[in-house]
């Protein structure tokens, strides 16, 4: 083999190594934007991911009675599962009551959680508007939106939950500092 051929071979081998990412799609297949949309349900605290639509607390009251009250109790209290309303002012006591109103820092999380996980027997069965309505109703039970209030993707991220400032990130994983130290 001539030195030129060796050089050529080395060049081919190097190119082959550098081209390794081209093998990527040998595993699985590309995800299409359309199918990603089907599963891309998460909602951030800035409202990113919230869908179009809206719902009122008045509408939500009936939807809650039909789908949620069996576990969470009428008015979000006294049920067999998590209490959803009340408890404000109890967090520093010996008997803290952690509810949406007393503990949850973001209203966007409420929409996300209802949408992904509730109602427990049939998660995802509520429409977008129904999910907004139940969100508004639970917030109204906590006095965070008025009884005739309405929420949508614009208003939900703007709600300042009573316990928004009640969380202290663990220093090691504080999102505000974690990747900015270096």
């Amino acid at each position: 083999m001539s030195s030129h051929d060796k050089l050529l071979l080395a060049g081919i081998l190097t190119a082959g190594l550098l081209a390794a990412p081209a093998l990527a799609f040998d595993f699985g297949r590309p995800a299409t934007p359309q199918e990603i949309k089907l599963w891309d349900i998460d909602v951030g605290p800035d409202g990113k991911g919230l869908p179009d639509g809206s719902g009122t607390a008045v509408q939500g009251k009936q939807i809650f009675a039909d789908n949620c009250a069996a576990c969470h109790g009428d008015n979000g209290q006294g049920g067999i599962k998590d209490r959803l309303a009340g408890g404000q002012g109890t967090l520093a006591s010996n008997m803290p009551v952690k509810t949406v109103g007393s503990f949850w820092p973001y209203a966007t999380t409420l929409f996300d959680y209802i949408h992904r996980a509730m109602p427990y027997p049939t998660p995802g069965s509520l429409s977008t508007d129904e999910t907004y309505a139940v969100t508004a109703y639970i917030l109204s039970l906590n006095g965070i939106v008025p009884a005739d209030g309405k929420v949508d993707k614009e208003s939900l991220p703007k709600i300042k939950m009573p316990n928004r400032d009640g969380f202290i990130p663990e220093p090691e994983f504080d999102p505000a500092r974690l990747f900015r130290k270096k």
């Binding site: 990412p21 995800a31 998460d42 951030g44 996980a117 969380f167 663990e170 994983f173 990747f179």
Partner: protein
């Protein structure tokens, strides 16, 4: 075992028969059945040999070994109907060695165990990536794999003892929400390269395919990127459904809820999503009403499993044994006190001692028959020392409910009864 057996090392008081002391230990390891059976007083009493049962497609546990988890609803609501349970606890008092049997690995789910056909299961990886991908289990099995022994611990482990100590509980009740298995899967780093993650993405959302769609925001620290993997194997076989079949995230050293089971989506982004799980649920409420958030790493911990709650010991020789683990790395040492935390002696560690895996410790002890308290204290290779209860509660209060790692004390009364106490 060295040639110097514990029996040689420590003289046994004349008033304790060997049968008595063996019986005491047996009750711990093999359960009620063993102690109910008539013993063999002499070798002549041992049943004759003979042909045994037919071979089978899989090996069942001996009918004499009773090993069961405890389904539990909330602290103090135990042995509930499985339909009402939210977790199921590992019987540490009956186990030996470092590895938890697969079927006894603790179980916690938030919407039951889905029955997933792997042929229909998909993992979507998308977000801040150049090449969003859809993968199935066979794709994962084709990829380079890692196999690693790792503990997984529910952040609620220890929830029995936050506010009070029920004396009538076992170590299964107090510490049954941690287990160690060998997991096999694909390094997260490999998947990150495969989809060509944007360098600006520092957080990852992992989401399960269960009814609750459990999802957590995971910071992409160097440690996590280098150590996390998507597992499809557990102790040499496919994952069990209760543990995430057909694929789950394994996050060595991090709280159980981050090890997303039935994994179906990884999304890369720039900030945490503030899911229900990292805001309303797995945060630690302090005495002042503020809550610690993103307390993701499991702490340096240990517990004596033998003897432990509800057992009975005899004066004379006793072997103390237990488990230690740390989310920071390897266990460097375990000390045991048999006088209520006044003096401490080093315990032996069973090899291998692996990073972010449980390790068994043991020590010989001659009990003089007087009431006392026994307690263990672990230290990891980062210098973290398991705190005593008093300083732990002083820092965390009694409302935190998650990440309990205070030293576990067992009291022993004059009759040898071992009971749960706070210190």
């Amino acid at each position: 075992m060295t040639s110097k057996t514990p029996v040689e090392l420590l003289p046994r008081p004349a008033n304790v028969s060997r049968r008595g002391f063996v019986g005491g230990l047996s009750a711990g390891i093999f359960g009620a059945v063993a102690s109910e059976a008539a013993g063999a007083e002499t070798l002549a009493d041992v049943p004759d040999r003979g042909p045994g049962a037919d071979l089978s497609a899989h090996s069942e546990r001996s009918r004499f070994a009773k090993l069961d988890r405890i389904p539990e609803a909330t602290p103090g609501k135990r042995n509930v109907d499985p339909g009402d349970a939210i977790n199921s606890k590992t019987p540490h008092q009956k186990l030996v060695g470092n590895i938890t049997p697969t079927d006894l690995h603790y179980e916690r789910s938030h919407s039951g165990v889905p029955d997933i056909d792997p042929a229909q299961h998909r993992l979507l990886i998308h977000g801040m990536v150049s090449k969003p991908l859809v993968l199935n289990v066979e794709d994962l099995k084709q990829m380079p794999s890692v196999t690693r022994v790792v503990f997984i611990e529910c952040t609620g482990n220890g929830w029995e003892n936050w506010k009070k100590a029920d004396p009538d509980v076992t170590v299964q009740n107090t510490h049954g929400l941690v287990s160690t298995n060998e997991w096999t899967g694909v390094p997260l780093k490999f998947l990150i390269d495969l989809v060509a993650k944007d360098k600006g993405s520092k957080w990852m959302l992992a989401e399960g395919g269960d009814g609750a769609g459990v999802d957590r925001s995971i910071p992409l620290t160097d440690e996590i990127v280098n150590e996390a993997f998507v597992a499809y194997g557990q102790n040499g076989e496919p994952l069990r459904p209760a543990h995430g079949f057909p694929m789950r995230l394994v996050m060595p050293g991090f709280e159980g809820n981050l090890n997303i089971k039935w994994l179906r989506r990884l999304k890369f982004g720039s900030e945490p999503w503030m899911t229900r799980w990292e805001t309303a649920r797995y945060t630690q409420l302090l005495a002042n009403g503020k809550a610690r958030q993103f307390q993701l790493r499991m702490e340096t911990n240990s517990v004596i499993t033998q003897p432990s709650g509800m057992m009975q010991i005899q004066p004379g020789y006793n072997r103390i044994s237990g488990l230690a683990w740390s989310g920071h790395g390897k266990i460097a040492g375990v000390e045991i006190s048999t006088d209520g935390a006044r003096t401490w002696k080093p315990a032996q560690l069973s090899q291998p001692v692996l990073s972010k895996a449980q390790v068994r410790f043991q020590m010989d002890w001659a009990w003089d028959g007087k009431p006392t308290k026994i307690v263990s204290r672990s230290t990891d290779d980062h210098g973290n020392v398991q705190p005593d209860r008093q300083s732990f509660i002083a820092a965390m209060g009694t409302n935190a409910l998650f990440h309990y790692n205070a030293q576990q004390t067992w009291s022993i009364d004059e009759a040898g009864r071992v009971r749960n106490v706070l210190a």
